[in-house]
């Protein structure tokens, strides 16, 4: 095993103790990419300067960045042909912060084009494969980032979630994915999908690494008016936690084995002293409609800029999924329909937010499966334009409510990873991380690696 399989903490400690150099660390990752990416296809543009940057920075840590983050001078396409060849003149705030913390960008990772999907199959440059089974999907939209970390091509990766796009692929690829509170991490330089729910976050090999990266990238940004200067809440010991298991999230149409695996994993928290309670939440199926309308509406406006100034190619290069979303969003915002769709969706969104608020008066955290099933086979999204929304049913309600959540490995079904998610109240990332870390310390699921 090369240095590429190290966690972020191990890599930092090794560099500090001079056990190896940053160059060696970067080289091992590049070799691993060379060796495996023909099969996995996690990467799009690679940074030709990565090794050189490593020679200049003895503390350099190799990182993979989702392709919807602007990277100055490094091709940024959001996996869309329309941006093919586009070299941004600036770094996204998250990218700048990662660089300031010694991140060395290996390259940009594949995703659903403009993040329109939950499979990475809508990428204009071909799908990414799940390292656990190359016939299966990695999830999405941050599929490339999740696969890169699971396959040890990078020490960690940056992704973004609009509804499930970090947690989903983290669950299906058997790694940790943290989706921070909306407004906690700057969106400046992140090519917008749905502006009101986009949240950048880390995809890592351990909970501790997720916390480290989260601390790097969080905070108010003068370039993003929706970021907030907000402290962390008080962190409770696990024996003082009351964890709610919403019965609506263990769905009958979901995979039975996944539901059972997550139930079993929940008992770990109980053994550690937490109290488990069954709760009832607003049925997550309503969040699908809310999310679909709000997201498509915002997409239809956000993608308008690609019809004016041409960054790469003409608007005819939008793919079918992009066009479907633009059309639906345009319709939902049109005069005469706005009240029935967009406005109504925002009203129901308020109901969902209130439902969570009330629930968090009774419990500290919510525990549920991240995805209702393990990773499905490639091609499953064909002809199913609502595939993503249905697959993300368990992450959408908390996303439209802006809540923080983490997905972490909690078992396997037929050799494929299962993820559980912990959802917390607004701004309570530290409470989530602490509980997740306790779980990780008492389980070994995160140590499992796919055989490639």
């Amino acid at each position: 095993m090369g240095l590429n399989s190290l966690t972020l903490r191990e890599a930092q400690e090794g560099l500090k103790a001079k056990k190896f150099t940053s160059q060696e660390l970067v080289k091992d990752c590049l070799d691993r990419i060379e060796e495996t990416d023909g099969k996995i296809r996690a990467f799009l543009a690679k940074n030709p300067l990565a090794l050189k940057e490593a020679t200049e920075n003895p503390q350099g840590i190799p990182v993979a960045i989702k392709d919807n983050f602007n990277t100055s001078g490094l091709e940024t396409t959001a996996s869309s042909n329309i941006l093919k060849g586009y070299l941004p003149p600036y770094d996204a705030t998250v990218v700048r912060k990662v660089k300031e913390n010694n991140g060395i960008i290996l390259g940009k990772t594949n995703m659903d084009a403009f993040a329109h999907g939950s499979s990475t199959e809508t990428s204009d440059f071909g799908p990414t494969k799940n390292p656990w089974d190359l016939q299966r999907l990695p999830g999405g939209s941050s599929g490339g980032s999740a696969a890169a970390v699971a396959a040890d091509q990078a020490i960690f990766a940056i992704g973004s979630e609009t509804a499930g796009s970090i947690r989903g692929p983290a669950a299906w690829c058997g790694i940790v994915g943290l989706k921070p509170t909306y407004g906690r991490v700057s969106r400046y330089g992140l090519i917008a999908m749905a502006s009101s729910t986009d949240s950048p976050g880390p995809l890592t090999k351990t909970v501790g690494d997720a916390r480290t990266v989260y601390h790097w990238i969080k905070g108010q940004d003068p370039h993003d008016a929706t970021t907030v200067d907000q402290g962390e809440g008080t962190v409770k010991e696990i024996r003082d936690l009351k964890i709610g298991l919403p019965k609506e999230y263990f769905r009958p149409e979901g995979q039975k084995e996944v539901n059972e695996t997550v139930w079993q994993a929940a008992k770990v928290f109980e053994r550690l002293g937490a109290r488990l309670v069954e709760i009832s939440l607003f049925d997550p199926q309503y969040a699908i409609s809310v999310y679909t309308i709000v997201q498509r509406s915002e997409v239809s406006s956000n993608l308008g800029r690609f019809t004016g100034i041409r960054f790469g190619h003409g608007r005819e290069t939008f793919n079918a999924e992009n066009k479907r979303r633009i059309m639906l969003g345009t319709y939902a915002l049109s005069a005469g329909y706005y009240d029935a769709y967009y406005k109504k969706a925002q009203q129901v969104r308020t109901v969902i937010i209130d439902d969570f608020k009330k629930t968090f008066e009774k419990v500290d955290l919510i525990l549920a499966p991240t995805m209702p099933s393990v990773a499905p086979r490639l091609g499953v999204t064909q002809g199913q334009s609502m595939y993503g929304e249905l697959a993300d049913i368990l992450t959408e309600p908390s996303s439209v409510a802006g809540l923080p959540a983490i997905s972490l490995p909690c078992g396997f079904v037929a050799g494929l990873p299962v993820g559980l998610q912990l959802i917390g109240p607004l701004w309570q990332e530290e409470m989530i991380l602490k509980a997740a870390e306790e779980f990780e310390r008492n389980t070994a699921w995160h140590k499992e690696k796919p055989k490639l």
Binding site: P89, Y90, I191, S195, D224, A225, E298, G308, L333, Y342
Partner: protein, 446 residues
């Protein structure tokens, strides 16, 4: 048949903030080299986000308050989606649902009130330049103006004449300049007008209930000076009344102004109107103000030109005309009041006002003290005895017998010439009134 015009006005004013509405670029764009004041935000690059300019928000509140608007404790920005080459994001960030100010008014003449429907804040677009490079006809885009803060002031259709429009624009301009939030210069495009006009055959009271408005409305757009706006309105009154007289309908339209043809022309029918797909801008949190914050705005409003004019009339006995001219700008009014407070008793405020207005005093060069000294010295006269005056008048009349004859034939204006002859003899500070009286007396008797 005589028709009454029913006119409403949308006015756009560029705020004179140092930076643009949603980024840190310089908001100065007049004569700057093209595309030098730009960044990812005002170019609409992928991933860029808008951050509102606090000063622009404060200034808009100030203007809304000065126009007696109700200031909303909750306000927000909306996206107005449309495609045009000067709009790089393909949407303009503006205010639709909840503007900063609503339901205000401006009194343009005693008792004549124009209701203000709303005062809201938005961003300006880039500028298109239609030109030729070599043999190619091209359209160039300059994004220096893209994202400059723009306040829009919308009135109700309360104008019934062009004169009222003139008064409104003049008053509004003065208020904006007094608040020091824009130079409101129409020639430089920092103040732009978009009138809408229809004609009514009936008496049209103000305010007019919505259901009594004429059944159509012609909007005049993209008119880049006040002079042209006025011409376009005059043209429309003529055009529409001809149509109505012939029993024809006037179409609901957007029309532009052609300087060459000296006429308005149709740009867009109602059917072709955009659906802007407005929705709340998700990149900017709603603006919230406490009642205390809004109350504080009221105390930031300085004495405005019109109330000041009223005060100058009451306090110093100035005429309407004098007060109006002196309050055209704050510096002139300040200068006047400074001079009044330091003036000696024998110099009246009215005299000071007259000097300032008639002699076109350059207040930047002449201090109020120096002005008072000039007035005082002008009032000093050389006094001479009655006998001397008598003698000199006789001399002058004898020396100018032709002039005397002309005067007696009725050319009374020749008196001025004779006075001049007297002044030459006595000196520049001669008392012209006394001379005039004596001359007239002598011319009558002999």
């Amino acid at each position: 048949m005589k028709y009454t015009p029913v006119i409403g006005l949308e006015t756009h004013v560029e705020l004179a903030t140092a930076s643009k509405m949603f980024c840190g670029c310089s908001a100065e764009h007049f004569q700057a080299p093209p595309n030098t004041h730009t960044c990812p935000v005002c170019l609409g690059l992928p991933g860029a986000l808008p951050v509102p300019n606090k000063r622009a928000v404060d200034w808009t509140l100030l203007l809304a308050e000065a126009l007696q608007c109700q200031l909303n404790t909750q306000s927000h920005f909306d996206r107005k989606n449309y495609f045009y080459p000067d709009l790089p994001k393909s949407y303009q960030i503006t205010q639709y649902e909840k503007p900063l100010g609503e339901n205000g008014q401006l009194e343009i003449a005693p008792g004549k009130i124009i209701r203000i429907r709303r005062v809201h804040l938005e961003e300006d677009t880039g500028k298109l330049q239609h030109t030729q490079i070599g043999s190619d006809r091209v359209v160039l885009v300059d994004f220096n103006r893209s994202g400059v803060p723009l306040v829009e002031i919308v009135t109700e259709p309360d104008f019934r004449s062009l004169e009222e429009v003139d008064l409104y624009v003049k008053k509004l301009q003065r208020i904006i300049r007094r608040l020091e939030i824009s130079n409101a210069d129409m020639e430089k495009g920092s103040m732009r007008l978009e009138p809408s006009i229809s004609l009514s055959g009936d008496e049209v009271p103000v305010p007019l209930p919505n259901d009594q408005l004429p059944p159509y409305r012609v909007e005049l757009k993209n008119i880049n000076s006040f002079r042209f706006a006025r011409k376009a309105l005059e043209y429309e009154i003529q055009r529409q009344s001809e149509l109505l007289t012939m029993g024809q309908k006037v179409l609901q339209q957007t029309r532009g102004w052609s300087e060459d043809k000296n006429a308005t022309f149709a740009q867009r029918e109602k059917e072709g109107e955009h659906d802007y797909r407005y929705f709340p801008e998700p990149d900017i949190p709603p603006l919230e103000f406490t009642p205390e914050e809004l109350e504080a705005i009221k105390h930031k409003i300085p004495e405005l030109p019109y109330p000041r004019a009223v005060r100058l009339i009451n306090q110093y006995g100035l005429s309407d005309y004098q007060a109006d001219l002196l309050t055209e700008n704050k510096d002139l009014a300040d200068y006047f009041e400074k001079a009044v407070t330091t003036a000696a008793k024998n110099v009246s405020p009215k005299e000071i006002a007259n000097w300032l207005i008639n002699k076109k005093i350059d207040i930047a060069k002449l201090s109020p003290q120096a002005l008072l000294a000039e007035i005082a010295s002008a009032k000093e006269t050389t006094t001479i005895s009655d006998e001397e005056m008598e003698r000199m008048v006789r001399e002058v009349l004898a020396e100018n017998s032709q002039a005397v004859a002309d005067y007696r034939k009725g050319k009374t204006q020749i008196l001025g010439f004779l006075i001049g002859c007297m002044v030459k003899k006595i000196g520049p500070k001669a008392d012209r009134n006394a001379i005039s009286q004596k001359l007239q007396e002598k011319l009558r008797v002999s």
